[in-house]
Symmetry: C2
Subunit: 161 residues, 2 copies
């Protein structure tokens, strides 16, 4: 396998705004292994390769990656569920380009309707998660309150901000 000619700048040349895997991984805060794995399982295909065979990640790729990581870390979804959600995202992009290409008023209404449904479904999932976290937080707050009362009773100066 012949290699890349990263001539001027090691990461980005004036002609090529894409990132190599190392820079992309660093920007996203993951390992290069994670990026290769996401490609292996078909979650995130780098939009190109350099002549030398190096993966090239575009800004759009990085946005998709950020979305994957939020779904993974914040929502705690496994990659199969994330794949489903990304499919919905892709569907939205598809509808958007359909609209841009020019389409009937009726069709536009249908499209907006579908987009609203997809968005609504995702918000439901986030809302459920938020409620669980809120409940957990409330529990801890209640415990904190009990401690504060105890501290007050004992005349302890409360150090907490």
């Amino acid at each position: 396998v012949s290699r890349d000619t990263h001539a001027v700048d090691p990461d980005v040349t004036a002609a090529d705004p894409t990132l190599r895997i190392g820079a992309a991984a660093e920007r996203a805060g993951v390992s290069t292994r994670t990026l290769r794995y996401y490609q292996e399982v078909g979650l995130l295909e780098p939009s190109g390769r350099s002549p030398g065979g190096d993966r090239r990640y575009s800004e759009a790729d990085l946005e998709r990656l950020a979305r994957i990581l939020r779904l993974r870390d914040v929502m705690g979804f496994d990659l199969d569920r994330i794949r489903v959600i990304l499919a919905a995202d892709d569907r939205i992009l598809e509808l958007r380009s359909e609209v841009r290409a020019g389409v009937s008023q009726t069709r536009r209404r249908e499209i907006v309707h579908e987009a609203i449904e997809l968005n609504h479904h995702q918000r439901e999932l986030v809302r459920e998660k938020l409620q669980l976290l809120q409940a957990f937080n409330d529990e801890l707050e209640a415990t904190a309150e009990r401690y504060r009362a105890k501290a007050d009773e004992l005349g302890v100066t409360i150090v907490e901000p």
Copy 2:
């Protein structure tokens, strides 16, 4: 290995309020394998065994399990981090029993102080997670708002409750 005598009731007898692994797992919504694994890695030791060798889970065990599962599912912690938090919990219980056994006013103040610190640390972690989720939710809400505007523009009847 000789086996258990689950004489009257398959799960709970009048004399023994503990649960066998199957019932405990069902109540907690996990598999029996998960319970055996948590024992294997030292996260949750069943408080007893029946003469036949069956694991016996008490109410206290189930509470500890529920705590583990919330830390796992809501906070997304791995078992090593959960182990650390449980150690703090155990420390609180220790302090509490120390107080119950009777202890000086000065010592009680120290104990309340330590308990407040442990609780504060846990609330910090939850607060971080909550902020991430809130940001994610806000993003989805903003998208929803854009869709609503589009729908309004197109004269689509909004179906969302």
